[in-house]
Symmetry: C2
Subunit: 463 residues, 2 copies
């Protein structure tokens, strides 16, 4: 077993790889994102737009193998869900919600109000996005934890319309844990819809499903393609983050526990056949011990089959220094970065590109996935170079506001005039000019010098 | 003239329109976003990726009509630019930069550090995006104001690599005002590149142009299509905002100055043939007087030809109440919202969807476009329902960090175990379980009960 793994997973010395070899070694597993897939998804979206709920019922039959009589979860189903969880399960969800809530409430930002110069005020205020659609996938099993990560910030943001779509189970019901989370997070409307058709329903609305302004949540290749397509359409809906297969990078030194490192790599690996786990270590002994632990732990895990498939994406790198390790990590830009080195905390400033960071021996990624308080919807597939994980701000819009007094315009107006003329935009200049000309005809106390009783001088300051 | 405009621009009573008529009346001008355009842009991107700088020189010849010997602006060009602006122009740019800088510096957010429960710490820190590419268009004339809006937040964020692409002028030089802004904002590298080819060069890099992680800035249909395409490619670059033609909505009551309202509508209208201006007023007299002002002001404006074309997109609505006006505005979700009513300030909380808001008689949109301090890169084409205007945060990533102590894991670990099992993710549970099992073998003071000298107990807290 170890021998087999050892041949599958060579420990590569980073310093001996050429630039091209490094590039290749850090390539993510190929993503299913073909033109053909996009065409299929485009057709699904078109069907949902033209046939609405009828198309949704048809797709549920075809893709989920269920005959849905209602798309929306009924009060009876909600009630049944409440009783189907045991006390330990319910308490675990409640504690996770409480922690995620605390961390996301801490992300509230104050409005800004700044007098830029006398009579020129600029402000920034927040508004919740009116309608948000939360997609809770159910690949292996339904994911109540994803419902938590989406529903909690939407609740804190105060988005007036918050709905969940989640694929129906084989018996046509929705997962009771997801329904329990929905209720605990104040979400009244849950639809038993999965895949691209769920995204289309939320982006455009149907008789049953309200149209939303933005869709959130991870999903498979169909869901991802649908999110991109509806986001590119002004009549569709925005998306939270581009998504790809999930990944972890573990930086470990000779003091790390190989048992823990291997367990963390495997936790990521079990997600799907295209998930990727990367170990970067300064210690050959740790790398070898981790390989042994991988071999030892894999057979006792329930998703062994997925593990055996996805382990082929695992990469093991030996680096000369921790600086090399962090450089490699920043190049790879992992969704999850686990740092199991003696001085983990001291190296945090070196992390430039990563979704979420897990420090030390006692912080497995699992904790962030479920209940530490951070969000588990994170930029995958290298998107951490430019994107951030989901947070409260993703459920809000920032609106800027400016207000000038007559004196403020007198003072700053000429600056705008100059730049407008530099840009050849005469009507932009004119909008300032007509006001300055008007102000030139009035005395400073607001009394007009030239009589023009039909247009009294009046600013929003009530002059 | 007024008669002609009056027939072109009917004043429509909102309350008398059916739902379908309202929907049609608020439709934006059609966007050039065809499959054919996408195919052209896809080809340009492919050419730039495969032929690099050679393709860029070819496209400059073909699209810009210039023969470029160097793509990058030289120190001599920078020096010449400094001297070609007069003192008034330079001071105007400096003042605009100072104002934009102040408002964007006020957007800095503090890191978060929160002890969620004993031994469980969650944090959020900010990191600048490593490399940003700023696109400064030059449709009518080059836009130094756009250079300000992009370069200032990139500077404050501290993005290590900041480059500008801007289309070359007919003589092959770059606009001196844009170069002056670049220098004032600490940008060393400017490339004379426009259109889709500029976006491709920044997203993938060429021998001359460094690859960036995210591209910013408005542009024409080719630029917009290129940004979407590279953003959908994990090897490409993220984009700031989806873009469409620019627009303004003015809410005015009977006390507004028709002269100012008309000037504001025209300032927006001059942008391009597909720009749109919307007036929503509670006063028929104001609507009619605005029409007269439109007719009076148009002939004296330099971009009259564009105005005559784009004025066809202008919409005039008469509403029964200010509440109706704000409802209409929130449905339209304007990029710019100008509020010229007696109690403008009091109505701000009613604004749910808008990019930037201008309050009162003395705050023409022009001021925000150039120098009030707010950013003028804003969500257009209805995207204000889900997106915000550009700000400091768009140049930063938010990274979350968590750290558990051994006791923290002992306490919270079982919660994660429960949820992992609910989701059928055994390897996730295992990563917690191996640690809890390990901790069960050690005494509370960190001394191991069971001898296993090869793996000392060690968390990042240095236990």
């Amino acid at each position: 077993m170890t021998a087999e793994l050892r041949s599958q997973l060579p420990i590569r010395r980073w310093s001996s790889l050429s630039a091209q070899e490094r590039y290749t070694a850090l390539r993510r597993p190929a993503q299913r994102n073909t033109q053909a897939l996009h065409e299929q998804v485009r057709e699904i979206i078109q069907e949902v737009r033209s046939r609405g709920d009828h198309a949704l019922v048809d797709y549920a039959r075809r893709f989920d193998g269920v005959e849905l009589t209602t798309l929306e979860v009924t009060p009876a189903e909600f009630a049944a869900a409440q009783t189907s969880l045991d006390a330990v399960q319910r308490q675990a969800l409640e504690r996770a919600i409480a922690n995620v809530r605390r961390f996301h409430e801490a992300q509230r930002a104050e409005p800004i109000r700044l007098e830029i110069s006398p009579g020129v005020t600029c402000e920034r205020e927040f508004r919740p996005i009116d309608a948000v659609g939360l997609y809770v996938p159910a690949g292996v099993a339904p994911l109540p934890s994803t419902a938590i990560m989406l529903a909690v910030p939407a609740l804190i943001a105060g988005c007036p319309t918050r709905i969940i779509c989640t694929p129906p189970r084989k018996d046509g019901s929705a997962d009771p844990a997801v329904l329990t989370v929905a209720r605990l997070c104040g979400i009244e409307r849950v639809f038993k819809l999965g895949g691209a058709q769920a995204i289309a329903a939320m982006a455009y609305g149907t008789a049953s499903v309200p149209k939303v302004d933005k869709v959130y949540g991870p999903g498979n290749a169909w869901v991802t393609a649908a999110k991109l397509l509806v986001a590119n359409d002004p009549d569709g809906a925005a998306l939270d983050l581009p998504a790809g297969p999930s990944e972890v990078l573990v930086i470990a030194d000779e003091q790390a526990h190989p048992e823990f490192v291997a367990a963390d790599l495997l936790a990521q690996t079990e997600h799907s056949a295209d998930a990727q786990s990367v170990l970067v270590t300064t210690s050959m002994a740790l790398a070898q011990a981790t390989l042994e632990q991988l071999a030892a732990q894999m057979p006792r895990l329930e998703r062994e089959r997925t593990l055996r498939e996805a382990i082929q994406n695992t990469r093991l790198f030996l680096v000369d220094s921790l600086q090399d390790a962090f450089d490699l990590s920043n190049t790879y830009a992992p969704e999850h970065l686990i740092i199991q080195i003696a001085a983990a905390r001291a190296w945090v400033p070196q992390v430039r590109n990563a979704g979420s960071v897990f420090l030390g021996a006692w912080t497995p990624e699992t904790m962030g996935d479920y209940c530490s308080g951070t969000n588990h919807v994170l930029p995958t597939y290298g998107f951490a170079r430019a994107y951030s994980g989901l947070g409260l701000g993703d459920f809000l819009k920032r609106i800027t506001i400016q207000e000038l007094t007559a004196d403020g315009l007198r003072d700053l107006g000429p600056t705008a005039l100059t730049i407008a003329h530099m840009e050849g935009l005469g009507a932009h200049a004119n909008a300032v000019q007509v006001r300055l000309a008007y102000l030139a005809t009035v005395l400073p106390d607001g009394v007009r010098a030239a009589a023009r009783p039909d247009t009294p001088l009046r600013g929003s300051e009530g002059a």
